[in-house]
Amino acid sequence: MALFFALPLLLVLAISLATRRTYGGVDWIFTLVNYRDALDPLYLRILMKSVLLAGVTTAICLVIGFPLAYWIARQPISRQAIWMLLVMIPFWTNFLVRTYAWMFMLRTEGLLNTWLLGLGIISHPLELLYTDVAVLIGLVYGYLPFMVLPLYAVLARLDRSLIEAARDLYAGPGAVLRRVILPLARPGIVAGCVLVFVPSLGAYLTPDLLGGARSMMIGTLIQHEFLVIRDWPLGAALSFGLMLLVVLCVTAYVRWAGNLTGERIAEAGR
């Protein structure tokens, strides 16, 4: 069973150590040159930028997703499921469609510019599409439900009497948040951050459609190496770099998410 999935990944590793043929395909001659090429400053810059964009995406999702999850967890129990359903419906909607929706909003003749011009806030249309900001908006939009889901899973089970006890002991709202709610929500925060960071890091559609040629991320770079330049070994080496980062994230999850299993997260979405 596990072999079924391990085999293709091992193949990626093998190809990353083989020699490139000009029009795709490989010769099975061992070399480490692909990993040296993958560490080229140009590629490293794209990698760093991907990590940065994914990191900022995660931070924004946490900051805007936390109040939403907390608010839903405080609603009457009978209505919580409906609110969570409302959060999950966009997640069930085609990712390509959702990304296109932002192209429609952000392009120069798009809705946002039309409205801002109409309201007289700006005098020239802003260049919004094909920027890093557009990629950021697309990523936050795409993966916000992944943050809200595990946060809600922990916040819904939060014992309210602990908060009351903290208040009785004269903790202000800030102290309650910092010293009671956040520590108890930690497994959900870790899970949410990993669930947002990992797909953001490897995103392809968002940087491809909203970022254009100037905002390459590691996902678009890998696609470019495989399908445009046809340098498979280099593409495979870059894929392995991405894989390594993902493994690091998953390790962090296993260490710090405590007993918050995937099953319990999925449960919250039902």
Binding site: F4, L11, V12, T93, R98, F104, Y204, L205, V246, A266
Partner: protein
């Protein structure tokens, strides 16, 4: 205290506006009479009519249905026995298998696409609808196994024991007790797999070849050619299909809880 609750509600409302605003705008403008403008020029169905004239689009819908149905069928036929088989493994091996199952769901999808493409090319399988279907089965299989397994674990083992005590053979007990109890989970898992397959872009992008353009790939090439109300129209239809799938999944779940 009151002020803070108000602040929270406002934050939640803004979040939901952020999640739904762009989709609603997209739908509204699929009925806009003007081709280029982002302001309202009157209601029209014309963009939906142009979709019906697009032969390649209709072909891509057909391809999507073929891939989604067959990859879901493969996932169910392999996944249900696998879920039941997993239950009989030693706990340590179960945990290992579970890690292997979650792997394709947590790695970035592009990794899955790349590795499957390399696998097919190495095996000299020409990239076609067949490789796309196998690729989709690869991510649908763990979905089905995980959902069926979750249900299997909640089954009361005494039910099967009672059936055996009353003289049922193992096969009879499976067919008349276990399988009917698993059915909602199997249907739910199949529906989820079907939806994911229908929506998939990246794995199809890497594992497809000439003649295997699915709907998302077709929409992608339309989007690459530039914003047009026809894309809004096809997007609206896709959104409605997703909603129908969610509604069906909920309905199935309701059956399960009774």
């Amino acid at each position: 205290m009151k002020a803070r609750a108000g602040w929270l509600t406002a934050a939640a409302a803004l979040n939901l506006l952020f999640l739904y605003g762009p989709i609603l705008v997209l739908i509204v403008f699929s009925f806009n009479a003007s081709r280029y403008s982002a302001s309202w020029h009157g209601f029209t169905w014309q963009w939906y009519r142009t979709l019906l004239d697009d032969r390649t689009l209709l072909e891509s819908v057909w391809n999507s249905v073929i891939v989604a149905v067959s990859s879901t069928a493969i996932a169910v036929l392999l996944g249900v026995p696998a879920a039941i088989g997993l239950e009989r493994l030693a706990p340590a091996r179960q945990r290992l298998a579970e890690a292997g199952l979650v792997l394709p769901l947590v790695i970035p999808e592009i990794m899955l696409g790349v590795s499957l493409m390399l696998l097919f090319v190495t095996m000299h399988w020409p990239l076609s609808l067949l490789t796309v279907t196998v690729g989709h089965a690869a991510f649908n299989l763990p979905v089905v196994i995980l959902i069926v397994r979750a249900r299997l674990r909640r089954l009361d083992p005494r039910l099967v024991e009672a059936a055996r005590d009353l003289g049922a053979t193992a096969a009879q007990a499976f067919r008349r007790i276990t399988l009917p109890l698993l059915l909602p989970a199997i249907a739910g898992g199949a529906l989820m797999a079907f939806t994911i397959s229908l929506d998939d872009f990246l794995v199809t992008f890497f594992t497809g070849g000439p003649g295997s353009t699915t709907l998302p790939l077709k929409v992608y090439s339309m989007v690459k050619a530039g914003v047009s109300p026809a894309i809004n129209a096809i997007s609206t239809i896709i959104v409605l299909i997703s909603m129908a799938c969610v509604a069906a999944a909920l309905w199935l779940q309701r059956g399960r809880d009774k």
